[in-house]
């Protein structure tokens, strides 16, 4: 079925045909025809943000919490450049996103026209793919291909730049959903021989570990269910990256906690000492590996990943399996079940005994306080009071983000939205709004830092306008805590510009926006204050005053190996200041 319509109508029609119900955007001259079409229909809801970066992160939150594509819309020039951070964020975190930008008319391109920017040029390195649409004939196929590319293979952001005259032109629209415009067809099914070999390696393992990541969540609910089956079937211990939290429940018996720079002692030591490592949808990021030449030196490594370029990028593996986690796990479990391997029970028992020894360190212990709120305690209480609800958590970037990863137990996937790869301060509030709009009845909390929250605070106005009752739970330590911690570690505790002077009064700031402000600074009041926050069916800024100088431990200092961790309870200030050698200082 084909129909005649304008380019602007095609944009809306393609969104409808792709099943998009919500988009996030901001108007301007070069997208006015699209906004005019939005005005005249009711199928696609447009959420007006206050800054295009907010639209991008809101689309990311929407995408990560639903498994669907997030859609953002911005005008040419400054609208598009404001989107760059969110696009880069989505690229690094494998978030499927389609961004539509307006462009000056084709006849003006290249003339330094008003609000002209080379949007495809600027966004080429921060999108999975992008197009400048030069002919109305090409528009329908490109719009649909954008969705296909955003969601297949390693997901990511795709941008379609549409000159204003193309938006006005009339052409033939065809719903080409699912039809391929390009030859992009990443392999989904893993090679059988490799899967059989993986079963052999895993069956013979004496000290196995599953190292899982965001790819499991990208793959979807089937992959998550299969991962849980695999743990049951094999009895292997399991750890995950920041991006994979929730794929395996934190309450599960085999769960070791997050691994990596701020991961648990047991997870990192098990990674270091294992003899077979099964990496499932994770990418051996430098926050995980620490010193590469000391990374899990004795193990055979199996790596399941849909992107061939993820394999052998940072760490050389013994057995790559290129394919979708869901598909590969299905075949792997079938092969395992058919083979009925005899596992070395004694070796596994000894391995678990060793792990339990590491667990006994209780590496997340911190010194409690009766007078002041410890940030770890705040997260523990937040978890206790929200875990039985339909809760979604987003974060900003910094210590508070790591404390969430350590002290909040995620039981399900798609419940934790955080900026891992790019580490974008300002991600959390708009991401929470995107999440809330996708899950209207749910409790959505942005665990924030006092510095980060100010990077996209204007989105509080978006939350108020669209009745998105998100809660920003600010762990206010009056510092850029993570920066301060690194300055203590690396720079003789010279706290250059990491103290946040002249903070706003967050309670009054909330009120100014038409939201609700809550302040709490005593441990004894915290539960009641959190309960009050939960009860309020409006956006809330919760200013939670925590101790200023707490550090985030455990920590693998940069340039160090997994078995050279700093633990929180027994580390002295001097050890902190000498923990990183000259070679580690140049790393980030």
């Amino acid at each position: 079925m084909t129909r005649q319509m304008t380019g602007a109508e095609m944009v809306i029609q393609a969104l409808i045909d792709q099943g998009v119900d919500t988009i996030f955007g901001y108007p301007g001259g070069a997208v006015l025809p699209i906004f005019d079409e939005l005005f005249q229909q009711e199928e696609v809801r447009h959420i007006l943000v206050r800054h295009e970066q907010g639209a991008g992160h809101a689309a990311e939150g929407y995408a990560r919490s639903t498994g669907k594509v997030g859609v953002a819309l911005a005008t040419s020039g400054p609208g598009a450049t404001n989107m760059v951070t969110a696009l880069t964020d989505a690229l690094l975190d494998s978030i499927p996103m389609v961004c539509i930008t307006g462009q000056v008319p084709t006849t003006l391109i290249g003339t330094d026209a008003f609000q002209e920017a080379d949007t495809v040029g600027i966004t080429r390195p921060c999108t999975k793919h992008n197009w400048l649409v030069r002919r109305i004939e090409d528009l329908p196929a490109i719009l649909h291909e954008a969705f296909r590319i955003a969601t297949t293979g390693r997901p990511g952001p795709v941008l379609v730049d549409i000159p204003k005259n193309i938006q006005f032109q009339t052409g033939t629209y065809e719903n080409c959903k699912g039809k391929a415009l390009t030859q992009y067809h990443p392999a989904v099914k893993g090679p059988e021989a490799a899967i059989r070999e993986a079963v052999e390696l895993m069956a013979a393992a004496k000290k196995p570990i599953l190292y899982t990541g965001g790819g499991v969540i990208n793959s979807g609910p089937k992959a998550v269910a299969l991962l849980r089956d695999l743990v049951k079937l094999t009895g292997f211990p399991i750890t995950s990256t920041l991006m994979g939290l929730g794929a395996y429940p934190a309450s599960g018996r085999n769960w070791l906690g997050m691994l990596g720079m701020h991961g648990t002692y047991e997870a990192n030591l098990a990674m270091h000492d294992c003899d077979v490592m099964v990496c499932i949808g994770a990418r051996f990021d430098d926050r995980i590996t620490g010193r590469i030449d000391a990374f899990s030196p004795k193990s055979k490594k199996i790596h399941i990943d849909i992107d061939p370029s993820s394999i052998n990028k940072n760490v050389v593996v013994d057995l790559p399996i290129v394919g979708d986690v869901g598909s590969v796990l299905e075949d792997l479990i079938a092969a395992w079940t058919a083979r009925k391997p005899m596992q070395d029970k004694a070796a596994h028992a000894a391995w678990w005994k060793q792990i339990d020894g590491w667990r006994a360190k209780r590496c997340l212990t911190y010194r409690p306080s009766a007078e002041a709120i410890m940030p770890q305690y705040a997260i523990e209480r937040l978890y206790a009071l929200t875990k039985d609800r339909d809760t979604y958590i987003t974060t900003e970037v910094g210590q508070h983000q790591m404390w969430v990863a350590q002290y909040y137990g995620f039981e399900e996937p798609n419940r934790f939205m955080t900026s891992g790869g790019l580490g974008t301060m300002g991600y959390g509030l708009p991401a929470a709004i995107g999440t809330q709009l996708a899950h209207p009845g749910a409790l959505v909390i942005d665990v924030a830092g006092d510095a980060s929250i100010q990077m996209n605070i204007q989105e509080l106005s978006t939350a108020v306008q669209h009745n998105a009752p998100v809660k920003a739970f600010i762990l206010n330590n009056q510092y850029m805590g993570m920066v301060r911690q690194w300055q203590q570690l690396l720079h003789g505790n010279r706290l250059s510009h990491s103290y946040v002077d002249s903070q706003p009064d967050f309670v009054r700031l909330a009120e100014a926006y038409g939201a609700v402000g809550i302040r709490c600074s005593k441990p004894a009041d915290l539960d009641d204050a959190i309960e009050e926050m939960i009860r309020i069916d409006r956006p809330v800024l919760f200013d939670c005053h925590v101790v200023s100088l707490a550090n985030c431990f455990p920590m693998i200092p940069s340039g160090k190996a997994h078995n050279e961790m700093l633990l929180g309870t027994d580390v002295t200030d001097e050890e902190i200041e000498t923990a990183i050698g000259a070679a580690g200082k140049v790393l980030v």
């Binding site: 495809v120 040029g121 080429r124 030859q183 030449d293 061939p308 370029s309 052998n312 990028k313 050389v316």
Partner: protein, 193 residues
Amino acid sequence: MMIVAGQSQSAYFLEEELPSTERSHTLSVLVDNEPGVLARVVGLFSGRGYNIESLTVSEIEHASHMSRITIVTTGRPPVISQIMHQLGRLVPVHKVVNLTWAGDALERELALIKVCGKGEIRDEALRLAQAFNARIVDATLDSYVFEITGAPADIDRFVGLMKDCGLVELARTGLAALSRGRNGITSAPAVAG
């Protein structure tokens, strides 16, 4: 391809890299000839810190809008394999083949070389041009333009000699390369690794 256990390829691991197995590789890349495709390829190399020694691009199938890009780059085997995978995940890239792995590929380049001089130097330039099978494509009383086609190393040698024969300027096309034998790029094994 060869994978050497324990060798790191991390951008963040700043130890001295072992130069041992670094060598130049000729990659053949089949792409959709669409706007920006060259920028994508070049941007990938600069953005990820890979080097380009030579790059040639030209449409090879007008009807299906296909171009072939020939890239000469250097690196150790794991880096080369990473480059190929990174190229392979660009949406307009159809195929990436490493002609150096395939072995003894045909590699040719064309150069135009202008020399100027009179008397003995001019005679010497002409004698060397004949020895190298270079053609005269332009001549005046005191200048020649030679055209030479050959393997890059042969052209390097000829250019080196011309420096003593009044070399004025030169232009080189960059590499065109094909594998030997009956198989073309579409039937060659794809991104290896």
